[in-house]
Chain length 99, copies 2
Amino acid sequence: MKQLEIFKALSNKTRLEILQWLKDPEASFPAQIHAGFEVGVCVGEIQKKAGLTQSTVSEYLSILQRAGLVESTRVGQWTYYKRNEAAFEELGKIIQSDI
Amino acid sequence: MKQLEIFKALSNKTRLEILQWLKDPEASFPAQIHAGFEVGVCVGEIQKKAGLTQSTVSEYLSILQRAGLVESTRVGQWTYYKRNEAAFEELGKIIQSDI
DNA sequence: TTGGTATATCGGAAAAAGTCGATATACCTT
DNA sequence: AAGGTATATCGACTTTTTCCGATATACCAA
């Protein structure tokens, strides 16, 4: 668990918002046709909601993924992203004991 | 608790190291003459250990303080910095529930 | 295979953070 | 009051991050 990389990933307003949205996809995004929310939310929907360009949002999701905070699944032409809850659990503990 | 400001404060290698050193001042710094470690560690000692200039370290400590992660006490011509453990406790919880 | 849609990657301009040396401020000592 | 020491602030330069448009890649459908 690369602390510095994680904190950098969390040091951006939009990326924090994306993580919030992914906590409750049903409440945050319109229903998905090609996959349920268990597999995640597709990049396009996240992009619309963020109001930034596709390239920026794709890059942000990569940053969150490299930090281990989200994971992705490719289904057909879509990539679905969802939170990695275990990472947040672990990070919380680390902050309370190691940082 | 301004999450974004906290994560930015934690997004720097040296600042993370300073926080580590302040966890156990006895082990990390030479004995202090004008005040015990309960009040904190003075800027000069932190600066020596960090190997950066005085101005940089002073700025870093301000950043940590504005984020609420450390607190300072002025005693004579020295300013002593120590960790605010409550902030780390709270941050850990927030990460496990709100982020 | 051609075209359409979704996502990723590349290259760059602008903004922010890192870091320094110089200077200012605060306090102590004489 | 004057000089010395500790810390904070300022101005400048460099590096990193933000965010974009353009292009590439991957997959699907006809």
